[in-house]
């Protein structure tokens, strides 16, 4: 099993619980290509009807911030809440 695991790339899985809702990260699967990643994602995360749509993305295509970015990235200026996108209410996923 470990040999195949070394060769098959990792895919991040995003499932959409219902129409209009945003896709949410569900987990990851190994697969040789996108079509089989979709099928593996369906079997692993959506077999019991938890999703109406699935995205799979090669894990290596995701750029993530690092723990050191916590300060400059996320320390918010709480005295000016109108600067936050969350200040303005809109339909989720709309």
């Amino acid at each position: 099993m470990s040999q195949a695991r070394d060769r098959w790339p990792l895919w991040e899985v995003f499932t959409q619980p219902k129409d209009g809702a945003p896709h949410e990260h569900a987990g990851s699967v190994h697969a040789p290509d996108a079509e089989l990643a979709l099928q593996n994602a369906r079997d692993t995360y959506a077999r019991r009807g938890e999703a109406v749509n699935i995205w799979v993305v090669p894990s290596e295509a995701i750029s993530a911030s690092t723990p050191e970015d916590v300060g400059p990235f996320f320390d918010p200026g709480n005295d000016k809440p109108y600067r936050h996108p969350q200040f303005y209410k809109g339909a989720k996923g709309g």
């Binding site: 099993m1 699967v29 190994h30 079509e35 593996n40 079997d43 692993t44």
Partner: protein, 250 residues
């Protein structure tokens, strides 16, 4: 011979029970975790379809046998599945080629059966057809990857196809049972399903660079209880717990 509808439902149920059991043997032995889960899911689907067909068989028979009685308390010669379903699981290539050939047949058969004049049978077929569409997609994708993959995967898939193809002759086997049920629109004419099945299968196999072997097709002995040496061993394992603890509940 039993009532034709009972006989017919046993054929449908036993194909799926035996093939589902063969697939379940992969649980914990899949080539990779994700495929292990997929194979177990397919096994559960097939056994789920079998339980619906067998339960209905017991109801129509009216002698107090439920799906468990039919699955665990019949012997080899009473099973009506095709031999194709009982052959040992082999390697992953063999398992997938068999799934592909069976899924494609099942897709066309269940689609036709969903229009049955027998309401319960039609409803079960419609439900099973929905899941079978996914099964075909899964096994078709594997045909492409194994057939048109590495030298070794192609060799194994071709060897599996050479061995399995003659057994597909059993799919369209028909006798008095089918004839009786066709007259009232309960069952479709299986000979009408051969061309669409053939088109589905040949389309994928050609893309997968796999070649359908020449040669004679095999008879469908399983439909009247004549099986290969393998079914008895499968049943021994499948039935041992139920027979050792009759009526057990958990």
């Amino acid at each position: 011979m039993a009532e034709p509808l009972v006989e017919y439902l046993l054929r449908l149920g036993d194909d799926r029970l035996v093939l589902g059991h063969r697939l379940s043997e992969w649980c914990g032995h899949g080539p990779i975790l994700e495929e292990d889960i997929a194979l177990s899911n397919l096994a559960l689907d097939l056994i789920g379809h079998a339980s619906l067909f067998l339960e209905l068989a017991g109801t129509v028979e009216g002698q107090g046998r439920d799906q468990d009685a039919l699955a665990y308390w019949r012997d080899e010669h009473e099973f009506r599945n095709l031999e194709l379903c009982e052959l040992p699981r082999g390697d992953f290539g063999f398992t997938m080629v068999r799934q592909f050939l069976f899924d494609a047949w099942s897709l066309h058969l269940l689609e036709a059966l969903s229009r049955s004049t027998h309401a319960d049978l039609g409803a079960i077929a419609a439900k099973a057809h929905k899941e079978t569409r996914y099964h075909v997609r899964h096994s078709s994708e594997w045909m492409l990857r194994l057939g048109d993959g590495t030298e070794e995967s192609h060799r194994r898939a071709q060897a599996a196809l050479d061995e399995l193809w003659p057994w597909t002759g059993g799919f369209a086997y028909q006798d008095q049972v089918d004839q009786t049920l066709r007259a009232t629109g309960i069952a479709p004419d299986l000979s009408q399903l051969v061309a669409p099945w053939d088109a589905t299968v040949r389309g994928i196999l050609a893309k997968a660079t796999l070649v359908i072997p020449d040669g004679p097709m095999r008879m469908a002995g399983g439909r009247f209880g004549r099986h290969t040496e393998h079914l008895g061993h499968l049943l021994a394992e499948m039935q041992i717990v139920a027979r050792s603890h009759p009526g057990a509940r958990w």
